[in-house]
Subunit: 453 residues, 2 copies
């Protein structure tokens, strides 16, 4: 019996697909990594089915690759060795919302916006915001983060418990409902960010937050990148609990104005957001404004209403789309290093120089409070010269980040694109990771070829 | 050549001790677990020496047990199989303070108060406060937390990077200086809380915080435990960033008044602390007071000056000493469960009933914002009946916590005392932990007999 027929013994026929379009849809993600078809795509509806699929795969040494919504940026969901793509779109239930414990339990296929729509009815929200409407499963498996991480943390800080199917099909729970624990090894954090290489998630318990009484957005314009970074760093030292603080360099503001019709001062700008009670937000804004002025901020605008706030963040989020809009047929490679705050200004300036020298078009935006920034490089994926130059550029930026004690990926994960930097970044610690991978996946079926190659 | 002579080939003679008093000092901690002598105590001064000791131990299959200052509460530092006790008192250097990155790197023997004295000169502080003046190495190895965790997190949230000597004597770094990363497995969190069973720490990089402009302490008195817990939970839902919120039940307040000469209302009380700018702290206090009144708080006092604040927290922290003072010659067993907030009131009331039924004397205090509470039980360690009753009481409380999805230990760690609950709490996940332990410590030399038995 072949692979597909065997899977049809486990799942109903209509949830085991080798349809050409379905295979194609599961051959790639949002990155420019080359596509590769799975042999088959399955659509389980519960943990029991997932466990049976994985057990079968393990016994037959067939790769299993979890697939959320395909919004990954480093090829994690691409089945580079074929095998079974496990699509979680049928496992998209919000299992439990518990306002008193500020906890929610979801299946992996629930998306971020779907979750927040439901949480909103209870006055709650889940803050981790990678931009895309990713699935919670995908976000947990890459340790995703984003614009609000400066205040609310990354996925690793907000996943309380994971239900995981191990290679042999058995099911474990990595944590509990307790807010903290010193019991046993911290498997939750080990599994968050493991990109499907240690097990397959079937349930995720997240901590959630009360929606703030007041949300105010703002923009602060500086004449110097160095000053804007120092202003942001000082703000964090002082302890202002800012919810978003995003750097957009001057070149990207010029693009925004040209395409999105905004009329922003074309200088280095921090996009801000404040969450809290009215009194506290007012006080935080006042402190921020005064402190920023000490660092040469010459324009400080706030948007208290939700429409103005939406417009402001759309301008920031559409940065990538704007670049694509002006370059039809091209794609964007997004670098993703994270450096210590004291090296951030230098790292951004270095990256700008590298972009300019490369002859490619690119913009820099940064989660400045975390030291994480993206240089978005426009390229034609079929133009080998452009791809080569973009890869070189990426490598220059990664090497700089590692040289100052940073990391090659702040939030996108390793996948295929950052494998080549793992030895440089982790040294002998990579052997420990490989030993853990080996002991938990002896047949190399769990998303093989990712993180370690 | 015997063990001691061989170690003297690695270290100078005066840092290899078999002195009877030295052995005795390394045979126990603050817990009431039975003492056991190590064969030898060594005092390395740097990572190179630690690496050589561990490599030697691994080659000769001799246990190595790290020892900080002996303030542990579950026997983690007790060398139950003898072997080498590695004392870190000579590795007590603060290696680097980096105010711009809000990072500090220390050797494991640095204590919490030593670190804060030094950080204070830079306007910084390290918030994790387990009460005792523990070493940072000990705190990292047990994933310690305490009164400020509700705002600043536990050790796992504040350790950025660990330098670890593996069983074979090789040295790894688990993280980087970046605030966040999605690169490789999260070894930092795996090692935090591993109690010396996966490797020996030689350097620890912590994130630190700016000292708040204003610190205000307060006390809020309620007539009902249930109401006080609901008030605290609601405060967290609303998002007030309270820095400390500690529950003390009425019986313990009565003890305080009797012994410490305070004159507090003898009812269930929340001890509070607010950190921030003056405006924000004032606003937070106002919101807290109003909200607490809705839950029946009938007395709300604040202490703005540092002397009043110190007196208030001394009263809270001395709770344990007061119990010992009134019971000369006795010891205290401290339970340590953590439960979901929605089960906290019930858990505390259940524990109070169990204490009363046991006939033992005991007081309950709780890190109420985390759902973590301690029932301190007074007992004579030589009275087998009292020890038996205390153990039974502990077991009742742990079983209750696990039945509502909590954990057997919120902050003290597993050590010897919580081993028997690991299977119940973790189920099949315990097999994953054991597999990781086995692959990273094939000769069972790293603090053998802890966590897994």
């Amino acid at each position: 019996m072949n692979l597909v027929d065997q899977l049809k013994e486990i799942l109903p026929e209509d949830r085991v697909s080798t349809n050409e379009t379905v295979l194609l849809n599961h051959s790639q993600d949002e990155s420019f990594h080359p596509a590769n078809l799975p042999d088959v795509v399955v659509f389980p509806i519960d943990k029991k089915e997932v466990a049976e699929i994985v057990r079968f795969a393990n016994e037959n040494k067939v790769p299993v690759v979890p697939f959320g919504i395909g919004s990954g940026l480093e090829g994690q969901a691409i089945p580079i060795h074929g095998g079974i793509s496990i699509d979680f779109q049928e496992m998209n239930k919000i299992i439990d919302i518990n306002p008193q414990d500020l906890l929610v339990t979801v299946q992996p296929g629930v998306t971020r916006l779907q979750l927040n729509a439901e949480l909103g009815k209870h006055g709650l929200f889940f803050p981790v915001d990678p931009g895309a409407d990713a699935t919670i499963g995908g976000m947990a498996s890459t340790n995703a983060s984003g614009t609000t991480t400066v205040r609310y943390g990354a996925m690793k800080d907000n996943v309380r418990n994971l239900e995981v199917v191990l290679a042999d099909g058995s099911i474990i729970h990595t944590g509990s409902k307790a807010k903290k624990s010193s019991s046993g090894y911290r498997l939750t954090e080990l599994y968050v960010g493991s990109e499907g290489t240690l097990g397959v998630f079937t349930e995720i318990t997240l901590q959630v937050y009360g929606i703030p009484e007041v949300i105010v957005a703002g923009r602060a314009v500086f004449s110097s990148l160095q000053n804007s970074v120092e202003a942001a760093t000082t703000l964090l030292q002082v302890g202002v609990p800012i919810a978003r603080i995003e750097l957009v360099e001057a070149a990207s503001i010029r693009n925004m104005n040209k395409i999105a019709g905004t009329n922003y001062a074309e200088d280095v700008t921090l996009f801000l957001e404040f969450h809290g009670s009215k009194v506290n937000v007012d006080a935080d804004i006042e402190i921020t404004k005064e402190l920023f002025e000490d660092f040469g901020c010459y324009q400080f605008d706030i948007e208290t209403d939700s429409i103005g706030r939406k417009k402001l963040w759309e301008a920031r989020h559409n940065n990538l789309n704007i670049m694509l809009h002006t370059n039809p047929g091209k794609k964007v490679m997004n670098t993703d290093v994270c450096v210590p705050l004291s090296n951030l200004a230098e790292a951004v300036e270095f990256s700008r120089t590298c972009i300019d020298e490369s002859g490619l078009q690119g913009g820099i935006i940064g989660h400045i409070g975390d030291g994480n920034f993206h240089a978005g490089i426009v390229l034609d994926p079929n133009n080998t010269d452009e791809v080569k130059r973009a890869n070189h550029l990426n490598e220059q930026i990664v090497k700089f980040a590692l040289s100052v004690g940073g990391t090659c990926t702040g939030e996108h994960g390793v996948g295929l694109g950052k494998m080549k930097y793992q030895q440089d970044e982790h040294g002998k610690a990579l052997d420990v990771m490989k030993a853990i991978k080996q002991v938990l996946d002896q047949n190399h079926i769990l998303n093989p070829g990712k993180i370690f190659g």
